[in-house]
């Protein structure tokens, strides 16, 4: 039972990181922008939140966790949105290729984050590991219901960002299927030419969706830094592989935010399962870690085989829009 609880908890924490990344990317892709810079954006969000709270905690003798938390949130969202802005400017205004720009953003974001993260570790001296204990504790405070036996441990023992991810997913679902603005956004992603003719501002929609989406993805990086690794930094490429999994999750969820909720937890379960299966030696563990990727491949193939209309990617995904070229 304890084994099951800890697997469940690991799955949810892992899932929350990639859920943020995937939700942001869903918003972005619904506007027709395929941003392969998600890992870079999550890196930017994570490091900005860490730097913000680090300097705050270093500047006062008794840092207030709540203030540190707010600073981290604002820094992470803002920096990640800035990354999205670079992507938007290059692909929307300058019409650069989206795949190539996204990959560049991944290299750049990873470079910035690991450079400053590594430097901060040096700056912190001593054990060579920075730590923002106060802020991280604010992120990791469990809900008051966590004490309620097994159910408390299973469902209420996480920091608030894990719940925020679910709230954002539900919000995005309603936004994109019920609100006029959301429907306009989807129209842009499906057929920008038609949307433009209907009087929807394509450029503004794409910019907004990409920047906001990047901001949400960035929170995934923040959650990773503050909660998953408890307010520390390591140049181990952890965020990058999670970022690519977030991209995979977007496909797995067939571009629907509600699917991303259970999809992310399932990924977490698959990812950590090897740890809890008895009798695996190290080499078979490595094979087991392939599972999330293989499952995504299967879903990808299944989606293309069934060819159902509502499960397809946005029709203009990855294509630039230039009014004069219609």
């Amino acid at each position: 039972m304890t084994q099951f609880i800890s697997l469940f908890q690991a799955a949810i924490m892992f899932g929350s990181v990639i859920m943020f990344g995937a939700l942001g990317e869903i918003l972005t892709e619904r506007s027709g922008n395929l941003n392969l810079g998600v890992p870079g954006i999550m890196y930017l969000g994570g490091i900005a939140g860490l730097i913000g709270s680090f300097f705050y905690e270093a500047s006062t003798t008794s840092p207030s966790p709540v203030v540190g938390m707010l600073i981290a949130l604002v820094c992470a969202f803002g920096m990640a949105a800035l990354g999205g802005l670079i992507f938007s400017f290059l692909t929307i205004s300058l019409r650069a290729n989206q795949n190539v720009t996204g990959l560049t953003l991944t290299i750049f974001g990873g470079g910035v984050a690991n450079f400053f993260g590594g430097s901060l570790n040096k700056l912190a001296g001593g054990v060579g590991q920075i730590s923002v204990a106060a802020t991280s504790s604010a992120f990791r405070t469990a809900t008051p219901l966590a004490g309620m036996g097994t159910a408390g441990k299973l469902f209420f023992s996480y920091g608030f960002l894990a719940y925020a991810a679910i709230v954002i997913a539900v919000f995005l679902h309603y936004f994109m299927s019920r609100s006029r603005k959301g429907l306009n956004l989807r129209a842009v992603g499906e057929n920008p030419g038609t949307a433009d003719a209907a009087g929807i501002n394509v450029t503004r929609n794409k910019y907004l969706a990409t920047c906001m989406g990047a901001g949400v993805s960035g929170l995934g990086g923040l959650y990773y830094v503050m909660d998953y690794t408890k307010g520390t930094w390591a140049n181990d490429g952890g965020i990058e592989s999670l970022g690519w999994l977030a991209v995979a999750l977007v496909i797995f969820a067939t571009w629907k935010p509600l699917n991303a909720i259970w999809g992310s937890y399932l990924f977490g379960l698959l990812f950590w399962m090897y740890f809890y299966i008895p009798g695996l030696n190290r080499s078979s563990q490595e094979l087991f870690k392939m599972l999330p990727y293989i499952v995504t491949l299967v879903v990808l193939v299944a989606v293309s085989l069934r060819n159902k209309k509502e499960n397809q990617p946005p029709a203009s995904l990855g294509l630039p829009y230039f009014r004069e070229e219609r």
Binding site: R95, A96, N235, W244, L287, I294, L300, S304, G318
Partner: protein
Amino acid sequence: MSNSAVERGEPLIHVSKRVGIAQSKAWAIRGAALVLALMISGLVIFSIVHLSPLKVYGAMFEGAFGTSRRAWVTIRDAMMMLCVAVGLAPAFKMRFWNIGAEGQILVGAIATAACMIYLGNSLPTPALLAVMMVVSVIAGGVWGLIPGVFKARWGTNETLFTLMMNYVAIQLTSFAVSKWETPIGSNSVGIINQKSNAGWFPPIFGQAYTLNVVIVLTLAVLMYVYLKYSKQGYEISVVGDSENTARYAGISVRKVYIRTMFLSGAICGIAGFLAVSGSSHTISVDTAGGRGFTAIIVAWLAKFNTFVMILFSFLLMFLEKGAVEIASRYNLNSFVSDIITGILLFCILGSEFFINYKVSFRRKHS
């Protein structure tokens, strides 16, 4: 009065597609982007280390080409990058987004390492090298073939398929490492055949990496000819421009997809062969080291011209080696190279806009 441009509501900036642009002008724009990138990077470096950017670039040059050993390492790594970019060129020309070079390199590397370990003592060097090359070609080719077949048959999205194949390959590599690790428990394979040097590239003209250069440059020339002058190369470019046109012209689009992806993966597999047999003589999950992604940008920016790719490969390698040098000299960490690479690529990507489009501002009045 009411005729002024502002009142007529003309936009401030007017963008129109260029019909054609002189090659010299296009290269001038790219050159300007390069200068801009170096200036921005210089500013970034200056704000971190407070040293004159010129001095920093001097140090970078020394790091990349300062001694003949360093120069050869730079050349070796640039060749590896070029090899991957050459492999990606046909796929991307076909508008097939092969993001999976990383994985194709790794399976080629695994195949090579397996040959070195299991056949190292039973075959003479030339035969062993030939076997390793063939095996790595098959491994990489099959890894590329799988997404190609799915795309051709069912239109499965290749960007995401190849991306996932990378991670499957990475786990396969971890698996191989855990099988072959020496000493046991070290979680690394160590230098393979350190005593016998079996399966290592033999030095030619006293240089260990001559064979790398020969192989990759040969591939680059062959690929140039293949894409530009062969029937298959022509089919690739027709499919890339418009699938429907290709179908109308009687080209079997499926066949082109599958054939080209095998070719693309196979050459990336050779890159894995070079990485293991021709340079590191070991294998780890870092054997591909992100080259599969960077090479996409190299291939794209060079417009699939393999000779221009040589230029970009060297430029990026210079930045990487140079940044490692300033990092160790000024006690920074080497990720500064990724930052500079990112800035450079952003600038060049942005500059393409000014090559393809003409920007004119609203006149005062007309």
